[in-house]
């Protein structure tokens, strides 16, 4: 017995730093996950119980909060709106940016270089600098307050960085492939969509992931563009909900959990792709 304790102590001594690291990292994880945990915990309590104690477990699981939040946020409609806007925007960005990035990379003329420069330097423009005029512009183009118009705005704002990514990636694809396709009788568009586009898959995934995270969670642009509650996105609807119930935490927390669930599910399913997308996007940027 004594010997066993001794070996255990030896082991602890040997791995002291490692154990300290684990303890520290667990503490950090606690800091990271505790807010989510406390939110879920309290979302099942009636308001009176929250005011009494936030740490206690709920006595009964009350789904009333959720029912009210779902109904008042018009969840299914806003969820559909958000999904629709995100899908259309991302498809638009992937197609427009890959076409532009590909041709700008292959064409060596001065015009091509100039256009590329314009796109890349526009990455320096903060959205907040153009937002005031953008609202007027959208009203002028009649795309204000519409779930069909918003994706167009996202394409306009979001296309520059992906063009930069595609431009870099296309360089690694041999030109011979296109020459061969041309000999086989493909025209420019067929060559791009049948030969090149499938080869862009890794960068397509990166671009799509970065844009989905951005657009799904975006708040300011929908706030500026969508004034009719019929068109609200998930985040916008939650903000309006919070504005209405200010400190009625039971309802707000239920709404918060509902809004988080789709994101967490997506994150759990595609974690590897997301992490890879972010690192490639960052390193290239």
């Amino acid at each position: 017995m004594r010997q066993r304790t001794q070996t255990l102590l030896d082991n602890i001594n040997k791995h002291k730093t490692l154990i300290l690291i684990y303890i520290f990292l667990c503490a950090v994880c606690f800091f990271s996950l505790f807010p989510l945990f406390i939110t879920v915990l309290n979302s099942f309590k009636p308001q009176a119980q929250i005011m009494k104690s936030v740490i206690a477990f709920p006595r009964t699981l009350a789904f009333d909060n959720y029912k009210e939040a779902l109904e008042e946020m018009d969840f299914f409609r806003v969820f559909f709106n958000t999904a629709f806007i995100t899908c259309l925007s991302v498809m638009g960005i992937v197609i427009c940016a890959s076409m532009a990035g590909y041709k700008l990379s292959r064409n060596k003329s001065k015009l091509s270089f100039f256009l590329y420069l314009v796109f890349v330097s526009s990455m320096l423009i903060p959205f907040h600098s153009i937002m005031i005029s953008l609202v007027n512009m959208a009203k002028l183009l009649k795309i204000h307050n519409s779930v069909w118009g918003l994706p167009f705005v996202y394409v306009g704002i979001g296309v520059n960085f992906p063009i930069f990514l595609y431009h870099g990636f296309v360089k690694s694809i041999p030109v011979e492939l296109e020459d061969a396709a041309k000999i086989d009788g493909c025209n420019e568009h067929q060559t791009f969509f049948k030969i090149i586009f499938p080869l862009l898959k890794p960068i397509n995934i990166t671009v799509a992931i970065l844009q989905i995270i951005w657009i799904w969670n975006d708040f300011l642009l929908p706030l500026l563009m969508l004034t009719n509650s019929k068109h609200y996105t998930l985040i916008l609807s939650t903000v309006m909900f919070r504005g209405k119930y200010y400190v009625e935490w039971s309802k707000i927390l239920a709404a918060v959990v509902i809004t988080c669930i789709p994101v967490i599910i997506i994150y759990m399913l595609f974690q590897r792709h997301i992490v890879k997308g972010i690192t490639t996007g960052a390193v290239k940027g």
Partner: protein, 295 residues
């Protein structure tokens, strides 16, 4: 010449035009309009306005105490965020990289807050600041210092914003650092161990130079993110208490959309934000490029 144009320029334009049209209508023209109106006294409604030159800019920089304050606040926020977020994220990445078991689990947990939108994060934390921390303070005597007016006091509100920003942001930068650390060839580390370098020396002379590109990227991302912060402040304090936590983007938003119809003036502020970001980015690129070549 003409044949060359037909062969090259037209396909170029065909491929680029979908992106270009959206880009021109949504980014370029609004940017030009913003420049133009920043030189006027337009109120946003009246069809008539006067061109007043740089008067808006002079007023914003020289006379507008609130705006100067928000510039100062944004700089302070950006500096604190760049330093804290990168130091903590790099430290965490180094630690996570050292352990063998549970790496993925830790990464999942630490990155999770980043997936949640700033606005939702702010709601979660306002619950914690207003409800959870005071309750904990009441029930645990040793933690009674937690009972503070986290969002009601201007100094504490600043740190509350920093805490929530770190909560969402650290995971993101940590992932980038972690990827960079994992790309360091194992042989180099082994060799330095054989040569007798201790952990600290190894970090300074081997690890740090190897991850300079990642540091460049992360500094850039955190700095830019801090200067464009809007969502979190809007949802957490809405610039309050008073006007003490109005970041630049929020100040522009409130000037343009909710206060006194000084449309031209709001546009001048927007242009100032543009130049601030432009200036900082160029300085950063220059400094970091130099450093990279030296190493």
């Amino acid at each position: 010449m003409i044949r060359n144009m037909k062969k090259h320029t037209i396909p170029l334009l065909v491929f680029v035009s979908p992106a270009l049209i959206a880009f021109i209508l949504i980014m370029l023209i609004p940017m030009c309009i913003t420049f133009f109106y920043s030189l006027t006294d337009w109120n946003g409604l009246n069809p008539e306005y006067n061109i007043v030159g740089f008067q808006n800019f002079i007023e914003a920089v020289a006379d507008d105490y609130g705006f100067r304050n928000s510039i100062f606040f944004t700089f302070k926020y950006a500096v604190v965020m760049v330093v804290l977020q990168n130091t903590i994220a790099l430290l965490l990445a180094l630690l996570v990289n050292r352990i063998k078991k549970g790496k993925t689990l830790l990464r999942t947990a630490l990155f999770m807050p980043n997936m949640i939108s700033f606005v939702i994060g702010a709601f979660i934390w306002s619950f914690i600041f207003l409800q959870v921390l005071p309750t904990i303070a009441k029930s645990v005597y040793a933690l009674r210092f937690l009972d503070q007016s986290w969002l009601g006091d201007s100094t504490l509100a600043f740190w509350s914003i920093v805490i929530v920003s770190l909560w969402t942001g650290i995971g993101y930068t940590m992932i980038i650092y972690l990827a960079a650390l994992q790309n360091i060839p194992k042989e180099i580390i082994e060799q330095s161990k054989i040569d007798g370098a201790n952990t600290f020396k190894r970090f300074i002379h081997i690890t740090l130079p190897m991850i300079v590109p990642a540091i460049t990227v992360c500094l850039f991302i955190t700095m830019n993110g801090a200067f464009k912060q809007f969502d979190l402040v809007y949802a957490l304090t809405n610039g309050g208490p008073g006007k003490s936590t109005r970041v630049l983007a929020l100040d522009i938003y409130l000037e343009a959309f909710s206060s006194n119809y000084r449309y031209g003036y709001a546009n001048a502020k927007a242009i100032i934000l543009f130049f601030v970001v432009l200036f900082l980015t160029l300085v950063q690129l220059k400094v970091l490029k130099k450093r990279e070549i030296q190493l």
